[in-house]
Amino acid sequence: MALGQKLEKTVKGTDHPLAGEALSLDRTGALWLPEHRTLVVSDLHLEKGSSFAARSGQFLPPYDTRETLACLHEVIQRLDPACVVALGDSFHDARGPERMEPGDRAMLSALQEGRDWVWIAGNHDAAVSEGVGGRYCETLTIGGLTLRHEPLAGAGEGEIAGHLHPCGKVSMRGRSVRRRCFVGDGHRLVMPAFGAYTGGLNVRDSAFEPLFPNGFTAYLLGDGRVFAIGRTMLGRD
């Protein structure tokens, strides 16, 4: 394939086949499974701001939930999924749903309207299922894909997970750009965190090594599109 063609292909939308399933990596950090009309988002960490206020008296702007939902709203509008999967750590803590503002709660309900909504259990919100709509499960299988929150070392082909909040850093000519990213090797995909206040773990961290013994490509979320970056171009923090 000529370089030009290859670039063209990347610009249109980053396709990333996994276990025979077509996947599209959205620049917002969401994952789109076109054949199943399913949208996957990971680590929403809703109510993280209020969690800080309750636990440590730090008053971060209480707008993170609506910011995250607004972003989700935009993708849902664009792709009109039949099913939305929240891949765990959807709430920052188990009491998050109680603290949700009525307006934000209404916004969530509106998003769920007319589509299947699946909450996958995370480590922050293992007990969440009440009063936030949708259904709840530990893992979900869609075609040849297994969706779970925390990636499992030695998991079979086709695992999609979150939990690690991957981030990649590229440094060039004295400037560096650090962005959330997908990480994949064709067998497994780790998704970036979607929440407004979620930080990131550099993909060069040792936590990623056992998951990708044969190396990986990081797909960094740029301003306009997703960029596929090889391991050699990725710096440590």
């Binding site: 440094s171 060039m172 004295g174 962005r179 599109r225 923090d237």
Partner: protein, 855 residues
């Protein structure tokens, strides 16, 4: 300047007169003037050049009063506040001489961050007569539950180096502390000690209550001559005591007898001459503008140091113990020279310094005078100093600075508008001390000069911020940090909140630093290093460390180091082989922007060919060449040049407004050029001008559309373009982070404290983005804007420039680069290039992967 009215004859007790006589001195007029002022119950500002016995003058009224004290009760009588911990310690030592010499029954103690807990507790129970401390420690004392009792007997507050304190947020914090002290101790007087400043009236106002409605003390202490001097506008001001005279400094531009480069700040050409000066003098302070310049100069001097003269290095990134060692060696007279940065601008008197050398551009007249004053701390002998320009433009700046020093003209910054984030910190502190009535506290706050114009609504917004974060969405009511009682007073919620306040005190927010540790390379395994065991050399900014890749060499702590990697928040390095040149220049430019005042003088010199006689020939020839090839801007004009070069089209402009304002201008101009479809690729800025390069012909566009340049530089760029840029500006985010830390929104990261896990850290950039979208008028965003106006973005200065040049743009479409433009062009590749979007960088990295894939 108004002469001090000798209100009454000061009463200098016989034993003081005798002590002066025994040392062969007599009290100086300004010392007696200040004594008389304080004895009359008035506050005063003492303005004196260095070496005038300012400190003794400041303490004389207290020593006299304490020597005549009849009561046995020991209470805190005098509080001394200094910007430097080291200065407080040094003053304590210096006060020993008069106190012991006269056998005065006076106790003096310091209270700094180093004071052990048991001593701090004892000081609260049994205070000394004189306590020496810093602004941060004073705020902590005022937030103490015992503050009211502790300060009730206070009579005198001495504020040292006031000119340096008032220009920053520390000055805001101190002004609020002073307002509280006026309430706790209505009979106290403030004495400000200052170097010569442009507007002494601003400092005079700072010292006394600016709220005439409610004179501090609420009726007590009236009729005791407390009414301070007033201007015609009725503004309250402290009395002014000025020390006249002082020998004029013996100041020159160092002539190294060769042609200087057009850019660069290292002054490599002057190193042999500087070394020669060190050989000829007892002790030399070599000032430079940045840490990296210090490293470079130090290394070069040692390269020349065949006599192995003891030459030391001093800058803010070095390990504190190493810095203390250098200071001690200097005080003991064991050194011949110290290469230093602004860390030694202020500080204790070294005594034996007989020469100051300033390498690089002076940047400001007052700054250079302060530095020169470090030589020969005796006011009747001239200080000797050399200015060493690093390039031909810096020669212009040196000429302007020499003229300013000759006229004793000052360019100290304007008075500050009090920062809301600092006020938020103070309000929480006051709640920790005791329940407060909001109206009372408001009246107190507006008595501080930086906050004199604060409206009640803005004050309420600050209180609301402290209580629940100040959000339109009332989400945190039940977690409030301060609670309003039925009596209308606000109280702190619990001990944890008070503890958070104490941990967060202060206004100095360091950029995050990481330790630089020497690692050992494993023999036989190249590229592998042992991460532990080596010594710590100091700290570098995390931002800088982030740009390094393994194998990069850079200068630090006087050595060329090889970057090996990062491990657990430490930067691991090894010594680079001998003869290795440091590859990473980091920021080679100057940290301080050129002052408005010096910039105007530089423009005036350029505009007037008659002035050129006073310039070195190489510089006047250069200017003549520029005039022949293009044009020279008039004093108030802006010269813009456009020309093609190597397939690109350049625009250079020379506003002479300092690097920070130019960077902001560059960002805004690139946006406009983008919109005009001229496809700008990037820009570079220095203190004098900017260069922008595009893929489309700018000369052609200017010829086709008359008024193009005027429109490009129109003031309206400070509207929407600025707003749009602020959304994504890294500098704005950094500014916001500082406000957020000071106001207690996010916790400080302490040196050595490990990064916490990814789930609990929240980057302030994310907070900034969310807050800007959902509540753009939030207190902290307003605070960040206020800072941006004068700080990193220098928007105010940019606005002044755009107004100045309206209708005064001289555009020259040239066929090639002009002599003047060469100077900015040379910054390209040396300074960071701005304007490159994140996506361009990512695309380039992605292309690498594709290349790899295609083999």
């Amino acid at each position: 300047m108004q002469a001090p009215s000798r209100v009454q004859t000061p009463i200098l007790p016989p034993r003081f007169a005798a002590w002066f006589a025994s040392r062969g001195w007599s009290a100086r007029p300004h010392q007696l003037d200040l004594l008389a002022t304080v004895q009359a119950g008035r506050s005063a500002l003492l303005v004196a050049p260095t070496g005038a016995g300012k400190t003794l003058a400041g303490f004389l009224p207290s020593l006299v009063a304490l020597s005549e004290r009849t009561t046995k009760e020991r209470r805190l009588h005098t509080l001394y506040v200094s910007p430097l911990k080291a200065l407080a310690v040094d003053i304590a030592r210096n006060l020993e001489a008069p106190i012991e010499g006269m056998g005065l029954p006076v106790t003096v103690e310091t209270r700094t961050g180093d004071t052990p807990a048991h001593k701090r507790a004892r000081q609260i129970q049994r205070p000394p007569d004189i306590l020496l401390t810093t602004p941060e420690q004073l705020s902590l004392l005022l937030a103490h539950r015992e503050a009211e009792e502790f300060f009730a007997g206070l009579r005198t507050i001495v504020l040292d180096e006031l000119h340096a304190l008032v220009t920053s947020k520390r000055g805001d914090l101190l002004s609020l502390a002073l307002a509280r002290l006026r309430r706790l101790a209505p009979d106290s007087q403030a004495i400000g000690l200052s170097a010569t400043v442009r507007e002494p009236d601003e400092l005079r106002k700072y010292l006394v209550s600016q709220n005439p409605g409610r004179v501090a003390g609420e009726g007590k202490g009236q009729g005791k001559g407390k009414g301070q001097g007033k201007t015609s506008a009725g503004t309250a001001m402290a009395d002014l005591v000025v020390v006249k005279g002082g020998a004029k400094p013996d100041l020159h531009m160092l002539d190294v007898n060769r042609t200087l480069p057009l850019s660069g700040h290292t002054a490599w050409h002057a190193m042999p001459a500087i070394y020669e000066l060190i050989r000829q003098h007892r002790m030399v302070l070599v000032f430079v503008n940045t840490r990296l310049q210090a490293e470079y100069t130090f290394q070069e001097l040692w390269r020349l140091n065949d006599d192995t003269l003891p030459i030391a290095l001093h800058h803010g990134s070095l390990d504190a113990t190493q810095r203390r060692r250098v200071e001690a060696a200097m005080a003991a007279g064991q050194l011949r020279a110290i290469v230093c940065t602004a860390t030694l601008d202020l500080g204790i008197d070294w005594g034996d310094v007989d020469l100051v050398v300033n390498v690089g551009a002076p940047k400001g007249a007052s700054r250079i005078m302060q530095r020169i004053g470090r030589a020969n701390h005796r006011m009747d002998e001239p200080s000797k100093a050399y200015l060493v320009p690093g390039n031909r433009f810096e020669m212009l700046e040196c000429r302007a600075a020499l003229d300013a020093v000759e006229e004793a003209a000052q360019d100290t910054p304007d008075a500050r508008l009090g920062a809301p984030d600092v006020l938020a910190q103070h309000v929480l502190g006051m709640a920790c001390a005791d329940a407060f009535d909001p109206l009372d506290l408001y009246e107190e706050v507006i008595s501080a000069s930086p906050y004199a114009t604060l409206s009640w609504e803005d004050f309420e917004a600050v209180v609301d911020y402290v209580a629940t974060g100040g959000y339109a969405l009332r989400a945190y009511e039940r977690f409030a940090k301060i609670l309003r009682g039925a009596d209308g007073k606000w109280r702190v919620r619990d001990a944890r909140v008070a503890q958070q306040y104490r941990m967060n005190i202060g206004t100095i927010v360091e950029s995050t630093h990481i330790k630089v540790r020497m690692a050992r390379a494993l023999r036989g395994k190249p590229g592998t290093v042992l991460p532990r065991g080596g010594r710590v050399l100091g700290e570098i900014e995390e931002d800088f460390a982030e740009t390094l890749t393994t194998g990069d060499t850079f200068l630090f702590a006087g050595e060329v180091l090889r970057f090996e990697g990062l491990a657990e928040d430490e930067c691991l390095v090894t010594r680079a082989g001998p003869g290795t040149d440091p590859a990473i220049p980091s920021y080679a430019g100057s940290k301080f922007p050129l002052s408005t005042f010096l910039a105007a003088r530089v423009r005036a010199i350029i505009a007037d060919p008659f002035e050129w006689d006073r310039l070195p020939a190489q510089l006047s020839n250069y200017l003549a060449l520029q005039r022949k090839h293009s044009a020279l801007p008039g004093e108030r004009d802006l010269l813009v040049e456009t020309y093609p070069r190597a397939g690109r089209f350049y625009l250079t402009a020379f506003p002479f407004e300092g690097r920070l304002a130019h960077q902001t201008l560059g960002m805004l101009l690139t946006r406009r050029l983008e919109r005009a479809r001229l496809r700008p690729l990037g820009f570079a800025a220095n203190d004098y001008g900017i260069a922008i390069w595009c893929t489309k012909d700018l000369s052609e566009r200017a010829a086709l559309s008359p008024g193009f340049m005027e429109a490009l530089f129109d003031e309206d760029m400070l509207g929407d373009d600025l707003e749009a840029w602020l959304d994504e500006s890294a500098m704005m985010k950094r500014t916001f982070r500082q406000c957020a830390v000071i106001a207690g929104l996010i916790e400080r990261r302490f040196p050595g404290q490990k990064k916490t896990g990814r789930q609990v850290t929240i980057s302030t950039d994310l907070i900034y983005d969310v807050l800007r979208r959902h509540q753009p008028d939030h207190l902290l965003l307003r605070a960040a804007r206020q800072d941006a106006a004068t700080g990193l973005l220098d928007v105010t200065r940019l606005g002044m420039m755009l107004r100045r040049i309206r209708g005064r743009i001289t555009h020259r479409a040239l066929d090639r680069v002009s002599p003047l433009s060469v100077s900015v062009m040379l910054e390209i590749g040396r300074e960071r290039v701005y304007g490159e979007g994140a996506d361009e960088i990512l695309a380039e990295a992605e292309a690498e992967l594709l290349q790899e894939a295609l083999g």
